[in-house]
Amino acid sequence: MAQRTTEIIVGLFIIAGLAALLFLALQVSGLSPKAAGATYKLHANFNDIGGLAPRGRISMAGVTVGTIESITLDRETFQARVTMSIHKDVDNIPADSAAVIRTSGILGEQYIDISIGGDLESLKEGDTFYSTQSAMNLERMISNFASGR
C-alpha cells in the first residue's frame, strides 16, 4: 500500500483515539469547560454530614448552583463545617435559607439542597447558613419508628 495512504490512515486512527478521549471527557465524565473562577464561598455547619464529600453537588430547586469545596471538623462545636463554592450569578440566596442534606434516590449519592427562606437580604461571600438539616440517618429513623415517636 502506498506510503501516503498508510500515513493518512494512521493519522485518522490517532485522531479517532483523541476524539474518543474528548468524548469520554465531555460526554461521559461531564467535564465542563466553564471558567471555574466565578464563584463565591458560603459556609454551613452540620451535626452529621452523612456521606457528603468534597466536589459534591449543591442544588437549589433541583438546579446545580455550586460544589462542595471542603469539609472540616470544628473542634469546639463538634460540628462539621462545610465550605461551598456557589456560582457568582446565583447571588440572591435569602439570608434565612437552610442547607439541607438530601439523597438522590435510595442508593444515590448525597448532595446539599438549599431550601429558600423569605429574607430580603442575600447571603454574601463568607456568610454561614443559619439553619441546616443533617443527613438522614437510617438507623435513627428506624429506632424512632420502632419506638413509636
Binding site: T6, A25, G105
Partner: protein
C-alpha cells in the same frame, strides 16, 4: 530425586536468565532512537499493521460488551428500582476496568501474536542475521518501530473501546429497554470523574501497552528459530501478556481506586 530438584533449579535459573535478557533487550530497543527521517516512516507502517488492523476486533468487541453490560445491568438494577443508574454503571465499568483490560487482552491475542510470529520468522529465515552482517542494528530497525507502535496503539484502542461500549450500552438501555436518555447521560456525567476515572483508565492502558508490546517483540526475538519454536513463542506471548495484564490490573486498581 536430586535430579528433579536440580531440574527445577535449572528451570528457575532459565526463567531468571530470560528475564535478564528481556531487560537487556528492552534497553537496546528503547535506547536506540533512530533518525526521524528513517524511523518515522517505519513507525507509521507498524502503527498501521498493529493499531489500525486491530480496530475491527476492538470495535466489535466493545460494542458487544457494552450491549451485554446494558442488558445485564438493567436486569440487576431494576431489582433496586435504579435502572436510571445504568449509564453510570456501564461507563464506570468500561472506563475503569474493561476498556483497558479487554482491549489489552484482544491486542495480545491479535497484534501481539502476529508481531511475535513475524519477528520469529525473520529470525528463522536469517533476515535479522543478514541485517546485522550488513551493519544495520535489527533492534533499531525492525524491533523498535514495532514496539513503539504497540505502545502507542493500545491506549488509542482502549479509548475507542470505551466509547463504543458506552454507545452500545446506550443502544440497549435507551433504545431498547426504555431508560430515559437524559438520565443515562446525566447520571453518568455526575459519577464519572475525568481525572479519577478516565485518566486512570488511560494510564492503565499505557502500562498494558508497554508490557504487551515488550513481551510480543521479545518472544519473537528470543525464539528458537524453527517452526516449532515460533509456534511456542507465539503461544507464550499470548499467555504471558494475558497474565501480566491481569496481574498488573490488580496492582494498578489497588493503587488507584483503593482507599489506603
Amino acid at each position: 530425586m536430586m535430579d528433579r530438584i536440580a531440574a527445577l533449579g535449572r528451570t528457575g535459573l532459565d526463567v531468571i536468565a530470560s528475564l535478564g535478557r528481556a531487560c537487556q533487550f528492552l534497553a537496546g530497543v528503547v535506547g536506540g532512537v533512530p533518525k526521524p527521517s528513517v524511523g518515522f516512516p517505519l513507525l507509521v507502517k507498524q502503527l498501521y499493521a498493529v493499531g489500525v488492523l486491530s480496530l475491527a476486533i476492538v470495535v466489535v468487541s466493545g460494542l458487544f460488551i457494552g450491549m451485554v453490560l446494558g442488558l445485564q445491568g438493567y436486569t440487576i438494577l431494576s431489582d433496586f428500582g435504579s435502572e436510571a443508574a445504568i449509564g453510570q454503571m456501564i461507563a464506570l465499568t468500561l472506563v475503569r476496568e474493561l476498556a483497558p483490560v479487554v482491549a489489552a487482552l484482544l491486542f495480545a491475542g491479535r497484534a501481539g501474536s502476529a508481531l511475535t510470529a513475524e519477528i520469529g520468522l525473520m529470525k528463522a529465515t536469517e533476515q535479522l542475521s543478514s541485517m546485522e552482517m550488513m551493519g544495520v542494528d535489527p533492534l533499531r530497525r525492525v524491533i523498535a518501530p514495532r514496539f513503539w507502535a504497540g505502545f502507542i496503539s493500545l491506549p488509542v484502542l482502549a479509548m475507542i473501546f470505551a466509547v463504543v461500549g458506552v454507545w452500545g450500552g446506550m443502544l440497549v438501555g435507551v433504545e431498547w429497554l426504555g431508560v430515559y436518555e437524559g438520565s443515562y447521560w446525566g447520571n453518568m456525567q455526575a459519577s464519572v470523574d475525568f481525572v479519577d476515572d478516565v485518566l486512570n483508565g488511560l494510564i492503565k492502558s499505557v502500562v498494558f501497552g508497554f508490557v504487551c508490546a515488550w513481551i510480543a517483540v521479545y518472544q519473537g526475538y528470543d525464539c528458537v528459530p524453527t517452526s516449532a519454536g515460533i509456534s511456542s513463542a507465539t503461544t507464550k506471548t499470548v499467555v504471558y501478556s494475558s497474565l501480566a495484564v491481569l496481574g498488573l490490573d490488580f496492582v494498578l486498581t489497588a493503587v488507584m481506586f483503593g482507599n489506603f
